[in-house]
């Protein structure tokens, strides 16, 4: 494999990782602060993609669509938090899983009811079309580089928000002792709604960015949700830093596994067999990595050691 191809595949892995980070950051933030398992996070991703596709089709501008996706997902998140999620904080995880699973069904069928069953169209904006040259003679798609840039910007933004601002201080306080900050007079209800809406907006942003690369359709959020859960388990539940490293690890391992395993096996097996076996192994690879990491660090890479 040439150097250019290797760099291109590493960038692909990084881009997948950054996209997973946008999903996982919200998921892990919500779990860390409120102790809530939110299966409906994938639905918020879908809401973002649909909002972007519809607004972009109506206005002709991807950028207005992108802004709409943030607003729509945050609003959907806030409404869901106030009407449903708020009742679940004191319940055990099984009740939370049941209720948020029900939300998936409501969101999916609701979206299908309103927008129909046929996938929607969303293309990348003209500004980001085209490719940039890579060292080694290859080329890389500009839009995917932009996704990597957005992901890094969000990671830095989240870091600053949590370590430098008053809101961040409250989020950290909420993570370590819920009763105490409520007793100190912080409006914990509003804080929870804000955190939930923030997580939802990140999921919506991921949905809109990725919607331009793939098909915008009902049920698009669930496969990503599973990967996002793998990411936060690897990174350590509740840790944003863990979500970042976990996401990039999963993205790179998954991409490189898909490329390298069939090639490695083709040294020993006939090509069609190598493709089949390699493909099957590649789809297991991230779960094997997760199992190995959990065997040595049961609370994940950056999880609180308890």
């Amino acid at each position: 494999m040439s150097l250019a191809l290797l760099i291109e595949q590493l960038l692909n892995g990084l881009q997948l990782g950054v996209m997973l980070f946008l999903m996982a950051a919200g998921l892990t933030l919500i779990f860390g602060v409120m102790g809530l398992i939110n299966l409906a996070h994938g639905s918020l991703y879908m809401v973002g993609a649909f909002a972007c596709a519809i607004v972009a089709a109506a206005t002709g501008s991807f950028w207005i669509g992108l802004a709409a996706s943030l607003v729509a997902a945050a609003a959907a998140g806030a409404i869901v938090e106030v009407t449903v999620i708020r009742r679940l904080y004191d319940r055990d995880h099984l009740d939370q899983v049941l209720a948020t699973f029900a939300l998936i069904l409501v969101f999916s069928e609701g979206t299908r009811w309103v927008f129909g069953s046929f996938p929607l169209y969303l293309d990348i904006p003209p500004l980001l079309q085209g490719a940039v040259p890579l060292p080694g003679g290859g080329q890389y798609q500009l839009y995917r580089l932009a996704i990597i840039g957005v992901g890094i910007a969000v990671a830095i933004g989240l870091y600053l928000l949590i370590s430098r601002t008053r809101l961040g201080m409250r989020i950290r306080a909420g993570e370590s002792d819920r009763e105490m900050i409520a007793a100190l007079g912080v409006d914990i209800k509003t804080l929870y709604t804000v955190v939930f809406a923030l997580g939802a907006a990140l999921a919506g942003l991921a949905g809109a960015l990725v919607g331009a690369l793939q098909s915008v359709q009902v049920g698009m959020g669930e496969p990503v949700l599973i990967l996002a859960f793998v990411v936060i388990v690897i990174g350590g539940i509740g840790s944003i830093k863990g979500a970042l490293f976990g996401a990039i690890l999963v993205g790179v391992v998954d991409t490189m596994g898909r490329v390298l395993l069939p090639q490695a096996l083709s040294l020993m097996l006939p090509p069609s067999q190598a493709g089949l076996v390699g493909g099957a192994l590649a789809s297991m690879l991230i779960y094997i990595v997760m199992a190995l990491i959990l065997a040595f660090r049961p609370s994940g890479l950056f999880g609180a050691q308890s």
Partner: protein
């Protein structure tokens, strides 16, 4: 007062049962009406109900249920339809894994099943059954046609499909007729949405063409990303990723792509013209391959009903087997294994009146039979 009401109700129920004395033929339709794959099932249902409505035959009653693309749900619905609804015939299933779960038990209970889409190889070969009629195709057919057509222009094709039974059948079907070299052969994950890694491999493989089978959202994602990557190696595939239901979502990336199918909107025959006109007029959108196959299924049933009653299974099966109806695909006959003998066409995606659609550019096979008929003992 109460007795008057009761008499009234009794009278009503009597008059209802009086109407029902004509003993309508009940057809159970199990198809996918919710979830990500529902676009296909909705086209199937819409074309089927439209064909029955337009025929003017009022003795047909439809029982339509949604399987949500879940095999266990389809099995439950099938049992309910047979045991409590007492359906005479069944049809509707889109997906092969659901068909494999439902069809063998349905046909074993002596109910006739007509497939409007799925055609798994197992049911065409050793496990063929006199009560099972496939009005669509055997799963390999579209891929075989593309392999045959690729011989004309290409010597070094890169092929990819998802890693599940229909994906393996697809690549096997393509290779059955393709004679050139393979630049690469990849099995992707089912439900995969990002193909950047695969596209990079295609770019570096030196292929002169790409054949892919990625149904549903997978194909939309692949085509968009392929177009965005700037690769200009020609792409081809079965019609599933270029059907009328997904073309708007793929967008201009699909323009010019060759794809294989047994039907196209512009096939020149009277039945097809009438079908396209009726469907477009009723629903305000162009029909897909699934709608066309479903329309044929309904008309096949109607043609058999004129000759025999489903109560006489033997006679009804014989009437179905004659395939005495005007197919929108032109010539249509059943092989010994109750699967179609039909032409398979190569279509090209074009833009017509600002809308993406397909037109026929070549005929890959005339009167094509599937490769499994010889394994069927009927």
């Amino acid at each position: 007062m109460r007795s008057i009401l009761a008499t009234g109700l009794l009278g009503l129920s009597l008059s209802v049962s009086g109407l029902a004395n004509a003993e309508p033929v009940k057809i159970g339709v199990i198809t996918t009406l919710s979830g990500g794959g529902s676009g296909l099932g909705i086209d199937m249902r819409d074309a089927f109900t439209l064909a029955i409505d337009r025929s003017g035959n009022e003795d047909v009653e439809l029982v339509i249920e949604d399987d949500a693309q879940k095999p266990e749900m389809a099995v439950q619905i099938a049992n309910k339809m047979i045991q409590s609804d007492n359906v005479d015939l069944m049809t509707g299933i889109i997906w092969s894994n659901l068909a494999m779960a439902v069809v063998p038990s349905v046909t074993a209970q002596d109910v006739i099943y007509l497939s409007p889409n799925a055609g798994p190889s197992a049911l065409a070969g050793e496990r063929c059954h006199p009560n099972y009629f496939n009005v669509a195709y055997q799963n390999d057919n579209f891929h075989e046609a593309m392999g045959q057509y690729a011989n004309e222009d290409y010597k070094n094709t890169f092929i990819l499909a998802p890693n599940y039974p229909a994906g393996k059948d697809s690549l096997t079907g393509f290779k059955r007729f393709y004679e050139g070299e393979l630049a690469g052969e990849i099995y992707t994950q089912v439900g995969q949405t990002d193909y950047a890694a695969e596209i990079a491999q295609i770019r570096s493989s030196g292929a002169d063409s790409v054949f892919f089978f990625l149904p549903g959202g997978m194909g939309i994602s692949f085509m968009k990303q392929y177009a965005q990557s700037g690769l200009d190696i020609p792409v081809m595939g079965p019609a599933f990723s270029f059907s009328q239901d997904v073309l708007p979502a793929v967008g201009e990336a699909a323009l010019g792509v060759k794809n294989s199918a047994t039907w196209s909107k512009d096939l020149d025959n009277e039945a097809n013209k009438a079908f396209v006109e009726a469907f477009t007029e009723e629903y305000g959108r162009l029909p897909s391959v699934y709608a066309a196959q479903s329309w044929d299924t309904a008309n096949l049933i109607l043609s058999a009903l004129e000759k025999a009653s489903p109560d006489d299974k033997e006679a009804f099966r014989a009437a179905l087997k004659e395939a005495d109806f005007d197919s929108v695909r032109g010539e249509f006959a059943f092989n010994t294994n109750n699967h179609p003998i039909q032409n398979v066409y190569i279509r090209e995606v074009v833009e017509e009146d600002g809308e993406l659609t397909n037109k026929v550019v070549a005929t890959a096979f005339e009167d094509h039979e599937d490769a499994f008929a010889q394994d069927c003992s009927m």
